[in-house]
Amino acid sequence: METGRIRGAGALLLLAVVFVSVQPARAIPAFARKYGLPCSACHSSWPMLNNFGQTFKDNGYQLGNGKDAPIYQQPEYWPITFRVTPQWHRETNDRVAVDKIAGNASSGQVEASVASSGFDTSSIDILTGGTLSNNISFLVQPFINSGSSSISQTWVRFDNLARTRWLNLKVGKFELDEPISQERSLLLSNVGGSYYNYFFTPPGDTNFAGLGGNQLGAELSGHSENDYTRYSVALLSTFPNQTYNYYANFTQSFELPKLGLQRFGAYAYLGESPTYFQTSGGAPIAGGGLGNRSFYRVGAYGMWYVGKFDFDTFYLHGQDNVFLGNAVPANQPSALPPGAAGPAWNGGFIEAHYTYNPRFVLIGKYELIRMSRQANPGIRSDLGNLDNWAVGYRWYPIMNPRAGLAWVQEYSRSLNAGAAPLSGRDDATSSLLMGFDFDF
């Protein structure tokens, strides 16, 4: 017993030594390779940006040291990065409608827990970006999943228009200037790897717009020299439905002695979404959206640093038009149920990081959504409420001049009020993930 305890303690000590040994942090894909800087220069923990990295990004991937234009690179330099995450994961859903007798659809259904596990690979992110010339930057990010591919981002940006860093214009498909970047989340699991608030719409709601996901449009942005003050405004179109949405974000930072940089800001996303479509033979025609009705998401956020700890706090208030919330075409108002109203909700999350050193970071996240008004009185008051939490760590054993490799372990769990398909009880899903996240 004693021997086992000692061995266990020894193993823990070894792990601790391996995890926390402070080594020079260096790494690199495309940009670091171009400038010879370590990845830790731009990332507090890869892929999350620190203020230097955010400034570099806001400068149009330019350091401003007179060597940004591609003419200064070796001709064989190719600004490309691959990101892949081979992993083992286990997903469970506590309440799935299953046949009482497997394979017999007429045996009736019950709710049962279903779990699946195994090795997997993520999609492959291919990212190429940089400068086409002084003050013209670009990014192209194809995305390859099993059997399919798409363009996740593709844009060109004209930087420092009128010789001021306060005017930069980006056009294409891009990630919104989100308060906390979805693309740079440290969490990867199916249940905990995304910010639900960014994508949420109430159950039954037909609005598909949200803060999350990369969007088509044009963005005007600007920032101060040290990036403490930032703004962005974007005009977005929801192709193929041809409605226009608007997004704005403002961030201000300040230094607190002995604590570090503190950021806070506010954002607003508003627009319209179609409630029905022109059809041909009964099938919706692409681009034929009609009966547009409004929605909005507004909120505030803060990023607070206390030494090696940092906390991301995010608040959102959302509301959709009554027709969107009840999935009723706007040309059929009589179809609205009695007492119908535009659904409204509040949500937020707090995500904490403890960066022991550039090679090791602990992560914890808690996210919630609470409905404040349902689309009609027939919907139970808490349907759509969500609680999600995730914990994990990332350890970066390799950060060499051409690549970065992280070992990732995380566990996440979500509780969805009233989501059980048969009983209407609360449903829980969970995800356990361990794997390698690498970038080269």
């Binding site: 402070v22 080594q23 020079p24 942090a25 260096r26 400038y35 010879g36 800087l37 370590p38 830790s40 220069a41 203020n51 230097f52 955010q54 400034t55 350091l63 401003g64 040291n65 007179g66 060597k67 020299e225 040290n226 990036d227 230094e255 002695p257 570090g260 940089l261 050193n357 550039p358 001049p401």
Partner: protein
Amino acid sequence: MRMMADMIAHKMSVTVAFIILASGLSSHAQESHVGSLVGNAKHGKALYQRYCIFCHGPEGDGNGESAPYLDPKPRDFTKATFKCRSTPSGDLPLDSDLYDTITRGVHASGMPSWRPLLRQERADLVAYIKTFSPRFQEEPPVAPVQIPPEPPTSAESVKRGSQLFQSMNCGLCHGKEGRGNGPSAATLTDTRGYPIRPFDLTSGTRLKCGDSDSGIFRDLTTGLDGTPMPSFASALKPDQIWDLVHYIATLRAAAKLADRR
């Protein structure tokens, strides 16, 4: 008996004074002072490992992993020889000089501006950079060079500056028209033996140590240690240095005008 007590007291006081002096020097070497900021070398070390080590190397000797691919080469901190200083040629820089270089970056080199770092962090980095050379412990800080008030720019001043540019042989390195293509340009090396190119004063790009007229005056006065650019402090009077500054300003202004067109 009393003599012995005096001797012991004297030895003790000397010992205490030495300890205080030594600890004072030691703690000074571990600190930087920039305005009201006091940089801490221990904190600076962690920042150095995050931001600087890949170019400047773990020993601060400029031999980081990226160094072979960089031109110009990263600074060797162990030599304590710095281009951008407010102190006379050959002297150590002030803490504020190092802080300003970190903040501003060094144009046309691999060294970016680190202004996005906190002011305290930049002061901490200065404190750590100073630990690479014993000179910072051994040599007391020296006073910065004096920069007299700038006289008004005039055609006469520019003309005198142009004549000085020729008579002081600036053109040997910087070229007759200041384009960085003088007859010696191709043969120049820094003190580590690496080839170095004279600055093209007509390029309109930022100067390495700051763009203001007073900054150019300071550079002409202090020289850029570690490079072939000498100090003109003893060769020229302050008024003459201002004339030279005004002439250089015209070269740069012409380039900026052409760039805007």
